[in-house]
């Protein structure tokens, strides 16, 4: 597929500039509808608190999607991702206000593989927490 980043122009250790992705309650409602995950911990504060959570939390998959977006925006083509995995290491707490929360994603080219593929290691933070760990994407470059 047509990644716009060229393998030969990428160095191991190269940083990909961070990006901020805001998340408000409305985004979680939209994500619930689009994904089919209607777990009330993602939209119902009363329910979230009864199961011991501090507040409504974002779907892990919403956070993972922001990491995916970060990589596809860099690579230039969503079809360039051949493998993408994360561990959800902390919750993204989304308060019921206009600001909501912010997920900040950054990346580094961790390794160059054969066949014009690279491993991108991602860091995702929200507030003081690292919300993804072991976040890696294998990307097919041009």
């Amino acid at each position: 597929m047509a990644a716009t980043v060229k393998y030969d122009e990428v160095e191991t250790g190269q940083q990909i500039p961070p990006a901020d992705y805001p998340v408000r309650r409305v985004n979680l409602v939209m994500y619930a509808g689009a994904s089919g995950d209607f777990n009330p911990i993602h939209w119902n504060e009363r329910f979230a608190k009864t199961v011991g959570l501090p507040d409504v939390i974002a779907h892990g998959m919403f956070t993972m999607a922001q990491g995916g977006r970060f990589v596809t925006d860099w690579a230039g083509d969503p079809g360039a991702i051949v493998d993408y995995g994360v561990r959800f290491s902390s919750m993204v707490v989304v308060p019921d206000d206009e600001q909501g929360a912010i997920i900040t994603v950054s990346g580094v080219v961790e390794e160059k593989l054969e066949d014009n593929r690279v491993v991108v290691a991602l860091t995702a933070r929200s507030g003081d927490s690292r919300v993804l760990s072991k976040a890696r994407a294998v990307v097919q470059l041009a």
């Binding site: 939209m30 509808g33 999607a65 995916g68 079809g79």
Partner: protein, 148 residues
Amino acid sequence: MALNRDFVGRASAPSAPYEVSRVKIKEFATAIGDNNPIYRDREAAQAAGHPDVVAPPTFPIVFSLAGGTILADPELGLNFAMVVHGEQRFEYQRPIHAGDELVSVSTVTDIRSVGRNELITVKSDVTTVDGEPVCTTYNTIVERGGAG
């Protein structure tokens, strides 16, 4: 409650075919806040070498949770109210695009305790209705306090 270890190795029946539509891809892309034209505009997708609009990398979560039928089995003992997502991985044999008709077969590959939590991993093999491999997903969910 501890999860029933007898479920390790258990596989779901193949899911009913899931038809990937342009409308659903656009809805999903909008929900994740991604304005990439390759998710919306067939010509932009074709210019990037795809037959039609492609799905975002995490889109398979929409249909690959056929494992849900296993997870919902009362014999497993999973308390959904205490579930959070632990890990997720997608291996793509090729991008998913509008027009694909996809079938998932899900298998419980692991159940383990970590501290007071129970972790269960479900692998889903996603193919076209003609049997072409498209992607493999690995979904680990955490039942908080399940092992307590």
